[in-house]
C-alpha cells in the first residue's frame, strides 16, 4: 500500500450543534506510532470514532489507508483494529470465543487458528478457555489488544489504552505496542494522557486543544523545537498555554 496511513482534511464534527472538532488537517505516515494528546473533551475520542467509522464527520474528509471513512466504510474497517478506553467483552463467553467472534466479523477465514496465533503472540494462551467475566483489568486489556489485532490490521487505534492499568501492565502494554509496530509493521494511533508513555513509545505527536489541532511533529523535532523544556509534560503544558 502506498500513501499515508491516515489523512484528515478540514475534519470537523458537532454534537447537537456544538462544534467539538474543527478544521483538523493531519497526515500520519505508515509505520508511525502517533500519540494524540489533549485534555478531556478536546475531541480525541471523537476523532477516533470518526476514523473507526463509528460516527460520520459533519465537516471535511478522513481517509484510512486511502479509503474514505464514510463512502468506503467496508474497506476501512477491513484493515483497522480498535481498542476502546474501557475494554469489555461478552462476560459469559471465554476469551477464545470472544476473539473468534471478532475475527469472524473481520472476515478472517480460519478464525480459530488466527485466535491461537494471536494469543500465542501476546503470550496469553492460558487465558483462552477462561470466561472473560472473571478477568482482571490487565487480563481484559491483553484480550482487548488481541481482539484488535486478531485480523492483522495495518492501522491500530488505541483510546486511552493505559487507563486502569498498574505499572507492570503499562510496561507490558508499551512493549506490546512497540512489538506490533516492529514485528507486524502496524501504524499505531494512540489517544492518551500518559505523557511518559508517549515519550517512550511514540514517533510522532499531535496536540488537540478544544477541537483544534495545535501541534504535530516528530518526537525528535519536538525536542529541538522546545530545547528549554525538560520533559514532554513541560512541552505539553507550554503548548496548551496552561499555567506551569
Amino acid at each position: 500500500m502506498n500513501g499515508p496511513a491516515i489523512e484528515m482534511q478540514e475534519l470537523g464534527h458537532s454534537y447537537n450543534g456544538d462544534l467539538v472538532l474543527h478544521d483538523v488537517d493531519l497526515t500520519i505516515d505508515r509505520g508511525e506510532i502517533f500519540g494524540f494528546l489533549g485534555h478531556n473533551g478536546a475531541g480525541k475520542t471523537t476523532t477516533v470514532n470518526i476514523l473507526t467509522t463509528l460516527i460520520k464527520p459533519t465537516l471535511g474528509t478522513a481517509l484510512v489507508n486511502g479509503h474514505d471513512v464514510v463512502s468506503e466504510r467496508h474497506l476501512v474497517t477491513a484493515d483497522i483494529g480498535y481498542l476502546p478506553s474501557e475494554v469489555r467483552m461478552y462476560p459469559h463467553m471465554t476469551a477464545a470465543e470472544n476473539l473468534t467472534f471478532f475475527a469472524e466479523l473481520s472476515g478472517v477465514e480460519d478464525a480459530k487458528r488466527a485466535v491461537a496465533e494471536t494469543l500465542d503472540y501476546l503470550d496469553c494462551s492460558e487465558l483462552a478457555d477462561r470466561r472473560v467475566g472473571s478477568f482482571s483489568t490487565g487480563m481484559r486489556q491483553r484480550i482487548g489488544i488481541a481482539q484488535a489485532i486478531v485480523h492483522r490490521p495495518s492501522v491500530l487505534f488505541l483510546d486511552e489504552p493505559t487507563a486502569g492499568l498498574d505499572p507492570a501492565g503499562i510496561r507490558q502494554l508499551r512493549q506490546t505496542i512497540l512489538g506490533l509496530n516492529r514485528d507486524l509493521g502496524m501504524t499505531v494511533f494512540m489517544n492518551t494522557h500518559q505523557l511518559s508513555e508517549v515519550s517512550r513509545v511514540c514517533t510522532t505527536i499531535g496536540v488537540l486543544n478544544r477541537g483544534e489541532l495545535i501541534y504535530k511533529d516528530s518526537m525528535e523535532a519536538t525536542a529541538h523545537h522546545f530545547p528549554d523544556e525538560m520533559s514532554l509534560e513541560d512541552i505539553y503544558v507550554r503548548m496548551e498555554g496552561a499555567p506551569t
Partner: protein
C-alpha cells in the same frame, strides 16, 4: 456475517442465568398445563367410573364418558393463556438482552469498527431471537406431546400433532413480536431499566389494555378466548370493538383456540385472517428494529447502568 452475529447471540443467551431461569419457568408451566389437564381428566374419569358402577348396580344406563365428547387437545387449553403471559415476558427478555448487552458493555463500538454492516447486525440479532424462540417452543411442544401421551395413555394422532405444531408455530410468530419489542425499546433507551420497563409497558398494553376495550371490559375475555363478548347495549364498546382485528392478543387467543379445537369452530379462512395482523405487526416491528439499528449511535454506548 448474519450467521456470525446470530451464532454469538445464541451462545451468549445459552449462558445467561436470567434467560435460562425464564426459559425453565416457561417449560415448567408448559408441563404444569399438561399436569393440570391430566389431573382434571383423571379426576373426572374416576368420578365417571364410580358413577357408571353405581348406575349399573341400580340397573340404570350410564351416559357416555364426557371426555369422549371433548377434543383431545382441550387438556392443553391453558397454554393459550400461558403463552401471552409467561411466553411473552420471556420473549421480551430475550429481545432486550440481545441488544442491551451490546449497548451497556460498549461492545457495539467494537462490533461496528469491524466489517459487519448495521443491516447484517440487525438481521443476525432478529435471526437469533427467531431461532431461540423456535427452540424454546419445540421444547414446549415436546413437553405437551409427552403430557398428552401420559394423560390419554396412547400416542397422539398425526392430526393432533399437526394441530399442536400449528399452535406452536402461531405462538412463535406471536412471541417474535415481543422479542422485537424488547429489542426496539433497548435501542430507544440508553438506560437498561427504562428500556425493560418500556417493554413491559408495551406488553401490558398489548395483552390487557387493548383487549379490555375491544372485548367490552370483560376481565375474563382478556385472558380467555371468548367469542363475541362485547355488550351490545354499550355504544362505546360497540365502537371500540371495531378495533378487534388489530388486537393481536385477542386474535392470537381466538386463532389458537380454533387450532386446538377448544372453541366452537369457524371457517378456516377466518382463522387465517386472524393470523394476518400478528404477522403484519411482526414485519413492521422487524423493519422498525432495522431502522433503529441504522440510526443508533453505538459510539456512545456503555453509558447505561
Amino acid at each position: 456475517m448474519i450467521s456470525t452475529v446470530a451464532s454469538q447471540q445464541l451462545l451468549s443467551l445459552r449462558r445467561q442465568r436470567v434467560f435460562l431461569a425464564a426459559l425453565g419457568m416457561f417449560v415448567a408451566m408448559t408441563a404444569a398445563a399438561g399436569l393440570l389437564g391430566w389431573s382434571s381428566h383423571n379426576t373426572i374419569v374416576r368420578v365417571y367410573d364410580q358413577a357408571v358402577k353405581l348406575l349399573a348396580a341400580n340397573g340404570q344406563p350410564a351416559p357416555p364418558n364426557p371426555f369422549l365428547l371433548k377434543p383431545e387437545l382441550s387438556l392443553l387449553s391453558n397454554m393459550v393463556v400461558y403463552v401471552p403471559l409467561l411466553g411473552a415476558l420471556l420473549a421480551l427478555l430475550l429481545g432486550h438482552l440481545s441488544v442491551a448487552d451490546d449497548e451497556s458493555t460498549g461492545l457495539g463500538r467494537l462490533i461496528f469498527s469491524r466489517r459487519v454492516s448495521r443491516t447484517e447486525y440487525a438481521m443476525g440479532k432478529i435471526a437469533a431471537a427467531a431461532i431461540s424462540l423456535a427452540v424454546i417452543l419445540l421444547a414446549a411442544m415436546a413437553v405437551s406431546v409427552a403430557s398428552l401421551v401420559v394423560a390419554n395413555q396412547t400416542a397422539p394422532t398425526i392430526e393432533v400433532v399437526g394441530r399442536l405444531g400449528l399452535f406452536y408455530g402461531l405462538s412463535w410468530l406471536y412471541l417474535l413480536v415481543f422479542a422485537l419489542v424488547g429489542m426496539g425499546t433497548a435501542l430507544l433507551s440508553r438506560r437498561r431499566s427504562l428500556a425493560l420497563l418500556s417493554a413491559m409497558g408495551a406488553w401490558l398494553v398489548i395483552t390487557f389494555t387493548i383487549p379490555q376495550f375491544t372485548s367490552g371490559l370483560r376481565p375474563t375475555a382478556s385472558l380467555n378466548p371468548i367469542a363475541d363478548p362485547v355488550g351490545t347495549s354499550q355504544r362505546f364498546f360497540q365502537i371500540t370493538a371495531l378495533a378487534r382485528p388489530i388486537s393481536i392478543a385477542e386474535q392470537y387467543k381466538t386463532a389458537s383456540a380454533q387450532i386446538l379445537a377448544t372453541a366452537p369452530s369457524e371457517p378456516v379462512l377466518h382463522t387465517v385472517m386472524r393470523v394476518v395482523p400478528v404477522a403484519v405487526v411482526a414485519v413492521v416491528l422487524a423493519a422498525a428494529v432495522m431502522v433503529l439499528v441504522q440510526r443508533h449511535d453505538f459510539s456512545r454506548s456503555s453509558n447505561g447502568e
